[in-house]
């Protein structure tokens, strides 16, 4: 029994020296930052890949007649980029849960329950059937196991705090690496949306080129070669569209407005030319609206990415704050409420032991 008590004190020795401090505030802030960043990050990633997949399908025509098993196998072996990233978020979530369980003392409680099970099993063990008088010579086994339980759970609590510190320390470079990967991913996600924007603008520019050709043909046909250029309604109208087109080219889209009033001195447009001018004007305006809509779509996406970037920066800050807090934490004296039950249990075990010996 003396050995048991010595063992109990040996278990308690590190705990009695000093307790490892867990920076609970920094840990809570880090977990909150992570939860927010994950929620936004997963959504943004899945959206970006949907955009990329759709555009890739659209721009990569299916080739018929080139099927081979090797090609199927090669595409089968391609790592799913989205699944890997979801797994990366998930592993951090499991790491956080592990840290939380270390910090909360729940593992120590579970260990205590295991000791209760052990004590119950020992109590039922038929020592006397094995050899007469063994139980009485062993003394009160239950209280002794209880004493070990208190000491072991306290030691475990301290061990878990140290594991928390070691885990944060070990994960720090990996977490930093992952955040850098997420930052670079955000640029790629923007790249996919940039591609959609740029390709839309290319198409609109082609429409603009076609509109120029149409306008040129229309007004050339309607021009009166005998009239002075500044009084010929067809040529004046063409000049006006040319200036609108330049404005569009220079992205001053606000200048693209319909103004079919003729300047003084210009002959009124014929009914046919006026109808054509209105039609061309409408096409210019629709094109200008499409250019603006493409910009609005990209701007809206930027408005999604910007807060996400801020969340990543906050996550980075919180990871660093937690790691710094762990490095700088001062050992604290063990809390009295943790030690009292241990001391009481040991005293009870010793008292029982003395009683049996007498």
């Amino acid at each position: 029994m003396h050995r048991l008590i010595l063992f109990t004190f040996a278990l308690l020795a590190p705990l009695l020296a000093a307790c490892t401090a867990i920076p609970t505030q920094e840990f809570a802030a880090y977990r909150a930052s992570f939860a927010e960043a994950r929620k936004a990050g997963e959504q943004i990633m899945l959206d970006a890949y949907a955009v990329d997949d759709a555009l890739t399908a659209q721009t990569t025509p299916r080739k018929v007649g080139e099927w081979s098993f090797k090609k199927i196998e090669a595409s089968f072996r391609v790592v799913d980029r989205a699944a890997v990233r979801l797994a990366a978020w998930d592993v951090v979530d499991r790491y956080n849960a592990t840290l939380a369980s270390l910090a909360s003392g729940e593992r120590a409680e579970a260990l205590g329950q295991d000791f209760d099970g052990l004590a119950a099993a020992i109590e039922k063990f038929p020592f006397d059937e094995l050899a007469s008088g063994v139980a009485s010579s062993l003394g009160p086994v239950g209280p002794a196991v209880q004493a070990i339980k208190f000491a072991a759970t306290a030691a475990k609590r301290e061990g878990d705090r140290r594991r928390f510190v070691e885990a944060v320390r070990a994960a720090r470079p990996f977490m930093r690496q992952a955040i850098n990967l997420l930052k670079a991913d955000a640029d790629t996600f923007y790249g996919y949306h940039t591609r959609v924007h740029v390709r839309t603008r290319q198409q609109l520019r082609d429409h603009l080129g076609t509109l120029w050709l149409d306008a040129d043909a229309t007004y050339s046909a309607a021009a009166d070669p005998s009239a002075a250029p500044e009084t010929d309604p067809a040529r004046v109208e063409f000049e006006r569209f040319q200036s609108l087109g330049k404005a569009l080219d220079g992205e001053q889209l606000a200048q693209v407005v319909g103004d079919l009033n003729r300047p003084a001195g210009v002959a009124p447009m014929s009914g046919l030319l006026l109808a054509e001018a209105r039609r061309t004007n409408d096409r210019f305006q629709a094109l200008a609206a499409s250019f603006a809509a493409a910009d609005i779509r990209l701007a809206a996406y930027e408005d999604v990415l910007t807060p996400y970037a801020v969340l990543l920066l906050k996550l980075e800050e919180s990871v660093n704050a937690l790691a710094d807090a762990v490095e700088n934490a001062q050992p604290t004296a063990p809390a009295l409420d943790e030690l009292t039950p241990i001391a009481v249990a040991i005293r009870k075990a010793v008292a029982k032991y003395e009683e049996v010996r007498r």
């Binding site: 990329d52 555009l55 890739t56 721009t59 790592v79 980029r81 890997v84 990233r85 797994a87 990366a88 592993v91 951090v92 499991r94 790491y95 592990t98 579970a110 260990l111 295991d114 000791f115 099970g117 052990l118 119950a120 099993a121 020992i122 039922k124 063990f125 038929p126 059937e129 094995l130 072991a152 475990k156 061990g159 594991r163 928390f164 070691e166 885990a167 070990a170 994960a171 990996f174 690496q177 992952a178 990967l181 670079a184 991913d185 640029d187 790629t188 790249g191 940039t194 591609r195 740029v198 390709r199 603008r201 290319q202 520019r205 082609d206 603009l208 080129g209 120029w212 087109g245 080219d249």
Partner: protein
């Protein structure tokens, strides 16, 4: 152009804009417009190829990260609880045998 060295979102956008202006300009000949279109298709292909290649490198890095974090998690585990459970089971089994 070597896409991996020079490509970026900004480069792609600026180059595409220049080519787009050639495509819509009244001063461009049809041949120039066609050449600008073909050049844009090349640029676009290079750009998406670059995005995918950079992303694939990061996918591999994420896999490495997952393995590293799994090791960190595994290192926090301990066997004390399992050992006590095992001991309890052993005693229970022995009790059952002795009481039989």
């Amino acid at each position: 152009m070597n896409p991996s060295n020079e490509m970026s979102n900004d480069f792609y956008r600026r180059a595409a804009e220049v080519l787009g202006k050639i495509r819509s300009s009244t001063k461009s000949s049809p041949a120039q417009k066609q050449a600008a279109k073909e050049e844009f298709d090349r640029l676009d292909k290079d750009f998406v190829g670059w995005l995918h290649a950079e992303e694939a490198k990061r996918t591999a890095a994420f896999q490495e990260f997952i393995a590293n974090m799994n090791r960190v998690i595994a290192a926090t585990g301990d066997r004390s609880s399992a050992a006590i459970k095992q001991l309890s089971k052993l005693i229970e089994a022995a009790t059952a045998v002795l009481n039989a």
